[in-house]
Amino acid sequence: MENFAFQGLIGLSLAMYLWLISAGLTIIFGVLRIVNFAHGSLFMVGAYLAYTFYGQMGLPFGVAIVLSLLGTGLLGFAMERGFLSRIYGVDEAYQLLLTFGFILILDDAVKIIWGGVFRIPPIPPFLDGAWPVFGRSFPVYNAFVIAVGLLVAVILWALFEKTWWGRIVRATASDREMANAIGVNVPRVFSGVFVFGAMLAALGGAIGIPVRSVAPGIGSAMIIQAFIITVIGGLGNLKGAFVSSLIVGVLSAYGTLYFPVFELFFIFVIMAVVLLIRPQGLFAR
């Protein structure tokens, strides 16, 4: 029983990485109506930048994360302004293909710049150690990740529900033409949202480096998980993405412990069943 509860906590910290990457994916889809295939690659770039600033240059962990967010945000800005914004008018299949092209470029670019090997920088001293939980020792770092994830959830909720900026974004998401007509600068909102989403992915990647390691394949692995979550939660539904991150995170923590053979298969079964029965997501109003 204690094992079970402990594994649930491990799943909760896994869920937070999933939440950070799916939050960005969901916001971008909700506003721009683009499924950003390259979102996993932004997660990966965030991780590598944080590794460079923290693991290689020796900057403080917090500073490294902020710099990684800025760098990835800049990359997101270039992707949206330079490429995506020019093809909003065409069939959505081409937007998918374009972001797929970005995956290929970023995956190899990362290998060229940082090499193909696994890297794992040390846990920052103030987050090292473990607490006794359920008779086992629970790493402080996992608690830190859970705290960051929950904090981001609260900030996002406040941002979208309570601020003027959030109202503008929600207006653009529900009807971009009407928003344009009442004077919203829609292209600027699109850029802002894309950059914001990219930074959320980068945050997920950056805080994962001391425990999940940095390697070229982490982006492609994450994007599929993020797709599963956004589908279960409903494409464009932020609250749904949060709840389904928790579900998928905790389920796969139990899955790897109790049914390692079927874990992957069943997650895709859940995804397909949701798409077939409730394509608007489990948590749609």
């Binding site: 093809i87 065409v90 293909l97 470029i105 970023l106 190899d108 290998k111 529900s174 494409l235 397909a272």
Partner: protein, 335 residues
């Protein structure tokens, strides 16, 4: 859009076909091996493009059917060393899988269809990866024989030489391409294009839209299965990555390179895919970044692909989405 090729195109196709038949006499082992890979990808891609270019459905799960074809063929060849039986069995298995999963998949279109096919493809991937007893897990199946082509009571042709196997692949690929050419120009093929251009209009004209989509899905699955089934006798091994979604991307890349709304596009694209890969790999191992740049460049500047320059068609690069406005209104009403 007439059914006949122009005289120039006829001569070109005849020349190319004879060049393919002469290839083993004039080239070494490596070009023949490369040609087999190109033909396999060409078959895979024209099937994919029936679904994407002609029917308007972008599938990310075609690798699943490719893998069913490959694993099916491999399993049969390991039990009964008969090439014909192996390939036919692989194709049949992929066709059945595509029909069954197609019934569910064609209930959606657009991004939901893409996501659903991705989920189904990855389910097949996880079966290939985890069901160790049957699929060999991440080691895959090894030691698959390139079994002789046997027609009982008539002939037995050894496949020990790769050139012999090349002719099997060539004949099957050409037959598959010809069949697809006839299909897309038949009333059936035209109906698929009508559905792509406007689902509402086609449904109004009395077309059972879902049945036609299921038909296209099954045919695309059969082609993916044939492509997959031709692989194990060549490589003597199959491994789970062939079912992964990144394999589904190969026909997407080939089709995009050659051209979506042209018949020859995916075939030319398959050729370009391997030639570019081969050339780039001589200089650097990072060939994917080159493909990424090509994809971005194609989408931005040349969305209708290389072959649109040659195939004289009066079709806009992007299918006119007549009911986009209606769908947008629908989507915002749902919120």
């Amino acid at each position: 859009m007439t059914g006949r090729l122009s005289p120039r195109a006829t001569i070109l196709v005849a020349l190319l076909t004879s060049a393919l038949f002469l290839l083993p006499w004039v080239a070494g082992k490596y070009p023949v091996y490369l040609a087999i890979q190109i033909l396999i990808l060409a078959v895979f891609s024209i099937g994919f493009n029936l679904l994407f270019g002609y029917t308007g459905l972008l599938s990310f799960g075609q690798a699943g059917f490719f893998a069913v074809g490959a694993y099916g063929c491999a399993k049969i060849l390991l039990a009964v060393p008969n090439l014909f039986l192996g390939i036919a069995g692989g194709v049949a298995a992929a066709g059945v899988a595509a029909f069954l999963l197609g019934i569910l998949s064609v209930r959606h279109t657009r991004i939901y269809f893409s996501m659903l096919t991705l989920a189904f493809g990855m389910m097949i991937y996880s079966v290939a990866w985890k069901w160790r007893d049957y699929t060999g897990g991440d080691d895959g199946l090894v030691g698959i024989p390139r079994a002789p082509l046997e027609i009982p009571g008539l002939v037995t042709i050894s496949m020990a030489a790769m050139e012999h196997y090349y002719y099997v692949v060539l004949v099957l690929s050409l037959a598959a391409i010809l069949a697809m050419y006839r299909l897309v120009r038949s009333p059936l093929g035209l109906t698929l294009q009508a559905i792509r251009d406007s689902e509402t209009r086609a449904a109004f004209a009395g077309v059972p839209v879902q049945k036609y989509r299921l038909f296209a899905f099954t045919i695309a699955g059969l082609y993916a299965g044939l492509a997959g089934a031709l692989l194990p006798p060549l490589e003597n091994t199959v491994t789970p990555p062939i079912a992964h979604w990144s394999t589904s991307a190969e026909p997407v890349l080939a089709t995009l390179l050659g051209g979506i709304h042209t018949f020859s596009g995916p075939i030319v694209g398959a050729f370009l895919f391997f030639v570019i890969k081969d050339v780039v790999m001589r200089f650097t191992e990072y060939w994917l970044i080159c493909f990424g740049i090509i994809v971005v460049a194609m989408v931005m500047g040349f969305p209708s692909g290389i072959m649109s320059i040659f195939e004289n068609r009066k079709r806009p690069a992007v299918p006119p989405d007549a009911d986009r406005a209606a769908k947008a209104a629908n989507a915002s009403a749902k919120k």
